[in-house]
Subunit: 147 residues, 2 copies
DNA sequence: CTAAGTGCAAACACTTTGCACTTAA
DNA sequence: TTAAGTGCAAAGTGTTTGCACTTAG
C-alpha cells in the first residue's frame, strides 16, 4: 500500500469533473490512493486505508468509485478464482508476476508486454487494454524453499 | 461448444486414476467436453451440455470436477469482473483476444506469448502458468460498427 | 466392502443496489 | 437549489459446502 511522493490531486479533480463526475472528498481520497499505489490492493484494503483519514467511508463507496475509475480506464480490476479482486492502476502494457506461494504481484516492464499488444493488432484486433498474468514462484519464495 | 473429432477418453481415465481420482462417468464426460472444447465455456454452459447425455448431473459436480482439472493443471479458470468464470483447456502460452462488444474469446498462438514467459524467467521467476488477455474489439465487431 | 464421488439445498463471500440523508456545484 | 453522491443494510450472484445416497475399485 505504498504511495508515490506527490499525488496529482488537482489532476484527479479535473479528470473527474471533465467526465461529469463530482469531485467529492471520498472520491479524491480513494482515487489518490489507488492511482498512486504500487501494489495491487483489494477493495477492502483500500477501504481500511481510507478510513484512517475518513472514518465513515463505506465499502460500497469504495466499490462505486473503483467502478468510476475503471470506466475512465484509469484503473483495472483483476479478478481471481477464490480470491477478492485486486485493483491495478498501471494501465500501460506490463506483466503481472503472481507468486502462487506468497501471493505477491510484481510488475515487470518487459518489452514482451508491448509485443503482445502488437501481435493482437496484427490479428486485426483493436486493443484497448490488456492483462498479462504470469503465475509461478517468485525469487524470494524459491530461495526460501531451497534453504 | 465445439468438440474435436476424437476424444482421448482412455487418456482421461488414466490421468484421473494416476492422480488417485476415481474415473466416474460424470468426470469423464465433463473432462472430455472441457478438454476438447475450442471455445471458453462457463460452468453453467458445461452443465447444460453435459445434461443432454447425463440429465442428473449437478452444477456442483461440474464445479468440483473443474477444480480437479485445475489442480491437475489440465484446465485454467479465467475469472472476470461482473461475469461468470470461463474455463480454458489450452494450457500452452497463448493470447486470449477478448472482444468487449460481443464477448467472444479468440486464442492466438503468437510467439509473443512465449516471449512473455521467457521474460518472466529472466526476472528470476519460476513460471508454472500464464493468462495473457488482450481486451478490445474483434475484427468482426469493427466491421459491423463501420457499416 | 468402503472410501470417494454425487446431487441437492443451504451456506458463503464478494459485490451491487435501494433508499433516505448529505453535499458539490 | 437540486441532482449527484454517500452510507447503511438488504439483496444478489456465482461458487462452495454439508450430508445422505450412490458407486468405483
Amino acid at each position: 500500500m505504498n504511495s508515490r511522493p506527490s499525488a496529482p490531486e488537482a489532476t484527479i479533480i479535473q479528470a473527474l469533473r471533465n467526465k461529469g463526475y463530482r469531485a467529492t472528498s471520498q472520491r479524491i481520497a480513494i482515487s489518490r490512493l489507488v492511482l498512486t499505489s504500487r501494489d495491487h490492493p483489494t477493495a477492502l484494503q483500500i477501504c481500511k486505508k481510507i478510513r484512517e483519514a475518513h472514518p465513515t467511508v463505506s465499502l460500497a463507496t469504495v466499490y462505486k468509485t473503483l467502478q468510476v475509475l475503471s470506466g475512465l480506464r484509469l484503473v483495472q480490476e483483476l479478478s481471481f478464482p477464490d480470491a477478492e479482486a485486486k485493483f491495478d492502476s498501471r494501465m500501460k502494457p506490463h506483466l503481472n508476476l503472481i507468486c502462487e506461494q506468497c501471493g505477491n504481484v510484481a510488475d515487470s516492464e518487459d518489452r514482451a508486454a508491448d509485443a503482445v499488444v502488437k501481435a493482437a493488432g496484427r490479428e486485426g484486433f483493436r486493443v484497448s487494454g490488456q492483462r498479462l498474468d504470469v503465475y509461478g514462484l517468485c525469487e524470494k519464495c524459491l530461495k526460501k524453499n531451497s534453504s
